[in-house]
């Protein structure tokens, strides 16, 4: 069965301070990739942590049509901060993610799954390196492996490619795209590069200053007006010779036009 996720008036509160409010989405279906965009500190990470059950707040989160309990099962969240100082190898850390809440004994099936995920992300060569020896980009790939190995239905990725080189970015996003499609995973992805959003996402959710500004198909949401109002830059969306849309930034918004 394809997973679904729907948010109704979802918000986040830290004590009395409301950092996010009014996030409402249509039903997000498995197989689709939804990109969450917006300036820094807009509330994107808070939204991810709220959906992952790490934060409380108002509103309804329905997974597969049912109100989600704090223990979401197949909701897998990859936090933005991937720094660790633990003495574990990459392989052990991925196996560790696999074994959470899944019985104490390590089975052949567990190891096969770890091998498969490490292979799909092409990080087998660093399998037995210590986590503390990895570069930022490698840590991000391992972190991604840790969520993929848990057989997710809903995948929440908070800036999963921010530390990767261009080649890896393209590869990882293509992998995420194909995983969503092949396994019917509902992917929600925070990402800053709008050109990557145009390539990978079906839908875009725009968060600004703690509220959801818009949510809809990529080509209708990403437009010059969005660049002006949310990012304060002048820009255009133009199609290249292969008819793919691209965001072209002309410069910061002229002061007079604000």
């Amino acid at each position: 069965m394809v997973a679904t996720l729907q948010l109704t008036d979802v918000g986040v509160r830290y004590g009395r301070q409301e950092v996010l409010s009014g996030v409402t989405t249509p039903i997000l279906k498995g197989g689709e990739v939804t990109a969450v965009i917006g300036p820094n500190a807009a509330g994107k990470s808070s939204l991810f942590r709220r959906i992952a059950g790490l934060l409380d707040g108002p509103g309804n989160i329905r997974i597969d049509g049912a109100a989600a309990s704090p223990d979401f099962g197949h909701v897998c969240y990859m936090p933005q901060d991937t720094s660790v100082n633990t003495v574990l190898t990459v392989y052990e850390s991925v196996l560790l993610a696999r074994k959470q809440g899944a019985g104490r004994k390590v089975t052949d099936a567990d190891l096969e799954e770890v091998d498969r995920v490490l292979h799909s992300l092409q990080i087998e060569p660093i399998s037995f390196k210590g986590l503390h020896e990895l570069s930022g980009g490698q840590r991000q790939l391992v972190s991604l492996a840790q969520v993929l190995v848990r057989d997710p239905k809903i995948l929440l990725l908070d800036e999963p490619t921010s530390a990767l080189d261009l080649h890896r970015q393209v590869e990882v996003l293509a992998l995420i795209r194909s995983l969503a499609k092949d396994r019917g995973i509902c992917v929600i992805l925070a990402i800053h590069d709008l050109n990557q959003v145009l390539r990978v996402a079906d839908r875009v959710m725009v968060i600004d200053a703690g509220t959801m500004v818009s949510c809809g198909p990529v080509d209708s949401v990403i437009n010059p007006s969005l660049l002006q109002t949310i990012y304060k830059v002048e820009g255009r969306i133009e199609r290249c010779s292969r008819f793919c849309p691209h965001v072209i930034i002309d410069g910061p918004l002229a002061r007079t036009s604000v």
């Binding site: 059950g53 790490l54 660790v84 560790l96 074994k99 104490r104 037995f128």
Partner: protein, 346 residues
């Protein structure tokens, strides 16, 4: 067999071998410990006495079984308990300097015990050992809870926790000094000797209680091995794996205070085992709790057992208080550990 799986299995085998090697060293150390004392016995005599052979004299059997065995085993159990407590403290507080000794849990237990020693002796003279233990336990739990709740506050960093621990150490040491100041001469001597830490106070019942605490705590930790290891990947990640981080921390802290307080109550203050034991374990087997915890237990037990051997060997016929030896040996060891491990992670 694919490379990843095969290499992982080899890694696990290596860790199991390390555990086996540690166990062997521990057994040898205990045998040496049993042989040393005012009368020295050879390893053969000790082993024969342990097997109940009629080849050794009754006197040797009595000395080994009734006098030295509780002390030697107490070293093993206390070392194991303190090291397990330190290992889990470092895990849940995400702090390489955490241990019952450095964060004031031992100092709190010492203070609690000294109150019982100084003021409680007259009330329940027949049960003073147990009053001392209960008092030590309650104070240790109070200190552990304090550290726990402070560590839960927003914006509290690893450094803050260490500083907080240091304030606890100073506070409880000052209170301990106050109790000593108010104590009668006889009680003062008891407290002073007690704070030095000595295994010679070991008896079979005390050993049984400490072993029982271990027998309850370790399976509880082992059952949560995957969750505890996940904590080291960061709270967000562990929580997103479905680990109830807050509850796991609280529960672990309570078990730690039990593990730290009971040995302190019975044998006095013994420092550094809770700090050094887990570091050695981490260097040997990494931080997968399925191996890290047993390795911490074994290395803590081995260090204290070896320290017991050293405390008897410095001046033949004299047994130095073991707390003094652990501190003297522990400091340079810890220093070299810090300097070398900076190149690794912690």
């Amino acid at each position: 067999m694919p490379k990843g799986r095969g290499a992982y299995r080899a890694l696990v085998q290596r860790k199991k071998l390390v555990l086996l090697a540690l166990s062997l060293v521990l057994v040898l150390s205990v045998i040496a410990d049993l042989g040393l004392g005012p009368a020295r016995y050879t390893m053969r005599e000790v082993v024969l006495a342990l097997m109940g052979s009629s080849e050794v004299s009754l006197q040797i059997s009595v000395v080994i079984w009734d006098i030295r065995m509780p002390v030697a085993l107490m070293a093993v159990v206390v070392g194991a308990a303190l090291s397990a407590a330190g290992a889990q403290m470092q895990t849940i507080l995400n702090n390489p300097l955490a241990s019952p000794f450095t964060l004031g849990i031992s100092a709190a237990a010492s203070f609690g015990a000294s109150i019982a020693l100084v003021f409680g002796v007259g009330i329940l003279p027949w049960a003073i050992d147990y009053v001392v233990s209960v008092n030590a336990l309650l104070m240790a739990m109070a200190a552990a809870l304090f550290i726990h709740f402070m560590s839960q506050k927003r914006g509290v960093t690893v450094e803050t926790i260490v500083l907080l621990g240091i304030t606890l150490v100073f506070t409880f040491n000052a209170l301990l000094a106050l109790v000593q100041y108010l104590a009668s001469e006889q009680a003062l001597a008891a407290v002073v000797f007690w704070t030095m830490g000595s295994l010679t106070r070991a008896t079979w019942p005390k050993l049984a209680i400490t072993a029982a605490v271990m027998a309850i705590s370790l399976p509880l930790f082992m059952r949560r091995a995957w969750a505890l290891t996940a904590l080291r990947l960061g709270d967000d990640k562990a929580a997103s794996f479905g680990v109830n981080v807050r509850w796991l921390r609280l529960e672990t802290m309570m078990i730690i205070s039990l593990l730290a307080a009971v040995p302190v109550a019975f044998v006095g203050t013994i420092g550094f085992i809770g700090l050094v034991g887990p570091h050695i374990a981490r260097m040997l087997v990494g931080e997968d709790q399925r191996y890290f915890l047993p390795a911490s237990v074994l290395s803590g037990a081995t260090i204290l057992s070896l320290t017991s051997v050293i405390s008897k060997s410095i001046v033949p016929g004299t047994i130095f208080p073991i707390g003094i030896i652990t501190a003297l040996v522990g400091v340079p060891f810890l220093f070299s550990l810090i300097m070398s491990s900076r190149r690794r992670s912690w």
